[in-house]
């Protein structure tokens, strides 16, 4: 009884963490108060870290919490606290750029889904390979994947600019 429970504990926890991360992500999109949104995002990040930990890549879990919660979200909470944004954000003030934005998002998600679906057997093979330690990770990160990493940061900057374009930022309202 306990033996079988222990064997399936990983799977059970994986589902629990995934569900919690999903709930956090949905709450982040639905809630209107900035601090609540930040807290929902923090919980999502922590649960994602838990999922990485269950997959056996503890250093990725540590990076997830260290970078996203310990650095990014700390600054967001700090800024929200400094600005004392107390009112909930306004409703329905998207600019006309939201239409191409949604289309591009659908295309992007579609392309990602296609790629992941067709690359799935390769992913399974990679996951079933040897244990992926921090030593191995550091070497392949700094030799093979540093360009991908830098490109991701460019993508993130583009995403921030796009988000600013899609919601109508009125500089004069509320001072």
């Amino acid at each position: 009884m306990i033996e079988s429970l222990l064997q399936h504990l990983d799977t059970l926890l994986l589902y629990v963490f995934a569900a919690c991360a999903l709930v956090g992500a949905v709450l982040m999109l639905v809630l209107r108060q900035p601090m609540r949104v930040a807290m929902a995002l923090i919980s999502t990040m922590v649960f994602l870290g838990g999922i990485y930990g269950l997959l056996g890549v503890h250093f990725i879990a540590a990076f997830q919490v260290l970078i996203y919660v310990g650095a990014v979200m700390v600054f967001m909470v700090y800024v929200i606290m400094l600005l004392e944004i107390r009112e909930s954000a306004g409703m329905a003030r998207y600019s006309a750029l939201v239409v191409p934005g949604v289309v591009a998002t659908a295309l992007f998600v579609g392309a990602l889904g296609y790629g992941v679906w067709h690359g799935y057997p390769a992913l399974i093979r990679a996951a079933a390979g040897t244990r992926f330690g921090i030593h191995q990770f550091s070497i392949s990160f700094l030799t093979e994947y540093w360009l991908h990493f830098e490109l991701t940061s460019v993508l993130l900057v583009a995403a921030v600019v796009a988000a600013l374009a899609v919601i109508k930022v009125s500089r004069r309202a509320h001072g």
Partner: protein, 382 residues
Amino acid sequence: MIQDLLVYALYIAYAIGVLMTFGTVLTWVERKQAAVMADRIGANRAYVRLPFTQVKLVWWGLFHGLADGLKMLVKEDFKPRTYDWYAYAVAPWVVFTPVLLVFAVVPFGGILDPGRLFPSLAGWFGDRTYPLQIARLDAGLLIVFAFSGITIIGAMLAGWSSANKFSMLGGLRAGSQMISYELVMGLTVLGLVLIYGTVDLGVMVQKQSGTVLGFLPAWGVFYQPFAATLFLTAAIAENKRIPFDLPEAESELIAGYYTEYSAMKMGLFMFAEFIEIAIIGALFTTLFLGGYNLPYMNDSGFAFPGGHTVAMSHGWVVVTQLVVFLVKILLVCSFQILIRWSLPRFRYDQVLSFAWKFMLPLALANLVATAVLVWSHQGSVT
């Protein structure tokens, strides 16, 4: 499988027990040490009277911690009409939980072999051995910093959600101060990572059991004396204690970010602070003071510089390592309390410029010097 569960449940119980005991005892140590330093008698009022007798047990005032806990548990749980009740309710736990979790990656002893320790259980355990560490992770040091980053959010949430100007200022101060010193703390430890070539705390301790220059124990403090000083300073600032207790400076901000908290919720903040003293002690011991080993000691006994070795039985090694680790933690805690009662509080701008203009350049210089040394002695240092 069940054996693993049993052993790790025992480890977790041990860790929680040790941290809770330290949290309670340190409140007393802080008072008693202040009294000793100020040439007073000190905490000696609380006592337990044996029922139906006139025998009062004072025990050097050890019951003060108990009385404090009881007071916090039975006080009124005042709830202000805050702006954000959810953040208000969740903040003490966000501060308290990560502090406990950090201990999960700290090794508090060497390798435990239950079969050798209890021969009657040898058949059940087989040849399984367990390192005395709750989670032996190759990313140990990163996880320490990941968890201590979460604490900052808790302090800021507490200050912000209380909707009180004192709390708000306290939260602001806590946020800026902890962000600044977290950076310094990370940079000071990087030098050690360069020397030992790992972020696994267990391996770090094992690498400190040899000798350096023939006679000194290979402790981190001898490799990186400068980083050790900076690390301890930054850690005390990270824990927001005097002389860095600006976020809760009682003469300026009442109690800072936890002004609006009462009863056990305030107790959680206090408890987290005292447990963090012990955690800093444990981290400093692990990183710089050779962890759970005495000088020249390893998992099989002593190996003195002259080539002389003393073998010890497994049981004695385990007990010695557990005790030595606790004693080292207590000594570092006592040193922190010594600092707390010796130095006056900084002014707020001094705290931040101390971090950014003094400690950060020093930590960077230390890192550069270490990198150059490790590079020039490539292969011969570790």
